[in-house]
C-alpha cells in the first residue's frame, strides 16, 4: 500500500483566547462565562493542531420590538419580543451560548441602562450590547450601559474606525470587552485592532468583526476576508490574532429570500424552509472560515448550526 503522509501545516501563531462575561467571584453576576479563540490551526482541523474552544452561538435580541423584521421571526419568538428580559430567557432556552442585545435608535440612555439591567437579571449567560451603529447614538447609549454593568465583562460596540475612542474608553474604565468592526478588508481589520490596542485596551479583550454579506448578497467577500485573516493569524501576524464575531443572522434576515413569502418566484421553494436555509447557509461557510462567535436570529437555525458545531468538535468519537 502506498504510504500517505497526512499533510500538516506548521503554523507559527494562534488565535488569542478571549473570555466574555464575569461570574460573581470575578466581579460580575454571570452564572456562565464563555471563552473563545485559542485555535492553533484552521477551523476544525484537529488532526493538525489544538482547537480548545468551539465557536459560540449567540442569539440577537433587541431592546424594543423591531418594526421591520421578517414575520417568521415574530412567529418564532412571539410575545417575548415585547420584553427584552423574556426574549433573553427564550434565547437562553433555545440553546444560545451568549446573548447579543442591540439597542435601537429611538432608545434613551436611561432606558438602555434599565434594559441591560433587566436582561442581566433574566439570564446568567454572558452578554454583548451593541448600539444601533450610528456614531453619536452608539456613544450616547453604550457609555451609560458600560457604567451600569461595570465588572460584567460585556462585549460592547460598535467600534468602527471613525468612532471607537469613547466606547473603548468606557470599556476600559468598566472592565468590558469591545468588538472592532471594519468593512471586509484585512488591512482595515488589522489597523483598527492596532488603534484600539494603542489606547491601552488589552488584546485579550478585543473581538474583531470583519463583517459579511448574506448568502447571495456578497457572502464571498466576507468569507474570503475571514479566511485571509485567519491564515494571517496562524502565520504569526499578531494584530490579526483576535477571535472573530460575525452576524449572519442580521445579514440573512435582510435578504428578500428570508424576509418575504409572497410575490417571489416559485423556484425559491417554501418560505419558512428557505428562510432557515438562508440563515444556516450564511452561517455555515463563515464558521468554516474561522468565526468564533456567530450571531443568529432564529432558534431553529441555532439548533441546526449547533448540531454542526457539536459534530465538528467531537474529535474523540
Amino acid at each position: 500500500m502506498p504510504t500517505v503522509e497526512i499533510p500538516k501545516e506548521k503554523w507559527n501563531g494562534k488565535v488569542r483566547e478571549v473570555k466574555i462575561g464575569a461570574t460573581k467571584e470575578e466581579g460580575g453576576s454571570r452564572t456562565k462565562t464563555i471563552t473563545i479563540g485559542g485555535e492553533a490551526t484552521l477551523p476544525f482541523l484537529h488532526f493538525e493542531n489544538t482547537i480548545p474552544h468551539a465557536p459560540a452561538l449567540a442569539i440577537e435580541i433587541k431592546d424594543r420590538k423591531p418594526a421591520d423584521w421578517s414575520p417568521l421571526l415574530y412567529e418564532a419568538w412571539g410575545d417575548a419580543m415585547n420584553d427584552p428580559a423574556a426574549w433573553a430567557k427564550a434565547a437562553e432556552a433555545s440553546g444560545a451560548d451568549l446573548i447579543v442585545l442591540t439597542l435601537s435608535v429611538a432608545t434613551k440612555p436611561d432606558e438602555a441602562k434599565a434594559t441591560v439591567r433587566k436582561v442581566l437579571n433574566a439570564t446568567g449567560l454572558p452578554l454583548a450590547v451593541f448600539g444601533p451603529g450610528q456614531a453619536e447614538k452608539d456613544n450616547e447609549l453604550i457609555v451609560p450601559v458600560a457604567e451600569e454593568a461595570k465588572g460584567e465583562k460585556l462585549l460592547i460596540g460598535v467600534c468602527e474606525d471613525k468612532n471607537y475612542r469613547t466606547i473603548v474608553a468606557a470599556a476600559m474604565a468598566n472592565d468590558h470587552l469591545v468588538t472592532s468592526k471594519t468593512p471586509m478588508d484585512v488591512n482595515l481589520a488589522k489597523q483598527l485592532v492596532i488603534l484600539i490596542h494603542d489606547m491601552g485596551m488589552p488584546l485579550e479583550r478585543i473581538v474583531m468583526d470583519p463583517t459579511t454579506g448574506a448568502l447571495g448578497y456578497g457572502i464571498e467577500y466576507g468569507y474570503s476576508v475571514m479566511e485571509r485573516l485567519r491564515l494571517a493569524a496562524l502565520q504569526g501576524d499578531s494584530m490579526t490574532q483576535q477571535p472573530m464575531i460575525v452576524t449572519p443572522g442580521e445579514e440573512a434576515w435582510k435578504a428578500k429570500e428570508s424576509k418575504v413569502g409572497e410575490g417571489v418566484p416559485e423556484s425559491w421553494g417554501e418560505w419558512k424552509k428557505r428562510a432557515i436555509y438562508w440563515e444556516t447557509l450564511t452561517a455555515t461557510p463563515l464558521i468554516h472560515a474561522g468565526a468564533d462567535v456567530v450571531v443568529l436570529r432564529h432558534p431553529e437555525s441555532l439548533k441546526k448550526v449547533k448540531g454542526m458545531i457539536n459534530a465538528l468538535m467531537s474529535k474523540g468519537n
Partner: protein
Amino acid sequence: MALTGLQIYKLLPQTNCKECGHPTCLAFAMKLAAKQAELAGCPYVTPEAKAQLESASAPPIRLVTVSNNGTKIEEGNETVMFRHEKTFYHRAALMIRLKDDDPALQEKISKADSYIVDYVGIKLGVDGFAIEATADATKFVEAIKVTRSATKKPLILIAADSAAMAEGAKEAGDKPLLYAADESNWQKMAELAKSLKTPLAVKAASLEKLAELTESIKKLGVEDLVLDPMMNGHLDSLSALTQIRRLAIKKNFRALGYPVITFPNDEVLAAQHVAKYSSFVVLDDFDPAMMYALLALRQNIYTDPQKPIQVLPGLYEINSPKPDSPVFVTTNFSITYFAVNNEVEGSGLQGWLLVADAEGMSVLTAWAAGKFDADRIAKAVKTTGIESKVNHKKIIIPGQVAVLSGELEESLPGWQIMVGPKEAVDLPAYVKTMWKN
C-alpha cells in the same frame, strides 16, 4: 506542481545545440517553466525525461467529465486551497440520488429536472441524477430507462455488481459516472469503465486504501477517477477532503489527484461540502428551497474573487417603458442591478433603469469608494440619451445615497432628483404613491 526552470534544465540534454531557437538549454528551460515554450521544440529530449516533464506539468487534480447529450459536468483541475489565492474553477455539481425501486421515480426526476432558478440573471438548476441499484440488474436497467425518459442530464450509476452496472450503463447515455470500484470489485469495474470510456468512482475508507486502488486502476488504463473517502460526517469529511486536496495540490500526490464525491444528508453538511472541497455533492432529496440556497452558495464560493459579477452600464428597459415612465438609477454590480430590475419587472411596472458605471460595486460600496457619485450619475444621464426618451426630467436615486441629491441637482440642472426607498423591495409601492406625471 510545476517544475522550476532549474529542475527542467536537469532533464534536458544540456548540450546547448540551439536547435530549439534558444541560446542555451537553460534559457529554453526557463521559457518552459514560464509556459512560453513547448517541450516539442527540443528534438533531443529523452523519452524518460519527456514522460517526467509531462507528468509534472499535468494538473494536480485531474479534470474529469461526466456528460450526456451535450450537457457536461466538468470537475477537478483546481489549483488552490483557498478561493482568494486565485479562484475555484469547476463549480461543485449538485445532484439528486434516487433508488431504482422508488415508485415515484419518474415524477421525482421530472420535477427536479425541470427546476430552474434565476440567480443574478444566471439560470441554475440540478446538475444531474444518481440512480442506485437496490436489487437485480433488471430493475436497475428499467429505472435508468425511466430516468432517461425524464431527463437529459448526466447520470451517476450506483451499483456494486459490475454486471448490473454494465447493463445499466447501456441505457445511461454518453458518459455516466460509474459508482463505485472498491476493494472487492475494482478489476471488473475498471474493465467496464475502460471499455465504455467513462469515469469511475473509487471508494475506500482510508486514504491509503484509496490511493492503492487508484494506482491499481490506473495501471489497468483508467485515469478518469473520482474519489469517495467514505466519510460522511461533518468532521471526518472535512479532515479527509482537506487532506486529499492538500496532498494533491501541495504534495503533487498523484494517487489522490482526483475530484471527490460526497453524499451529505442535510443542507448544512452539503454547504460544508460545497465550500470545502467536494466536486460531486449528491443529495437524497430534492427540495426547491434547499436547492436554491445551495446553488446560491455554490455560485458565491466559485466566483472569481478578482472580478465582481457585473452588468454593462447603460440604459435598460423594463416592461417596455413609455416616455412618462419613471427613471431609476442604480449601479452595475450584478446583485444590485438584478435586485432592482426583478422588483420592478415582477411588479409589472414600466420603467427605465439607468445603470451607472460604478465599477461593479454595490450602491454603498461604490458610494464609499467614490465610484457612484453625482458626476458618474450625471454622466450616465448624459451618455445614455435618456433625455430624449422621456417626456419628464425626473430621476429616482437609491435611498441609501440620499446624500447625493443636492450635488446631483447641481450636476444635472433642470432635473428633479427624487430619493427612492432604501431597499428595492419597497420600490413598487414607492412608485405607486410617488410617481405622478
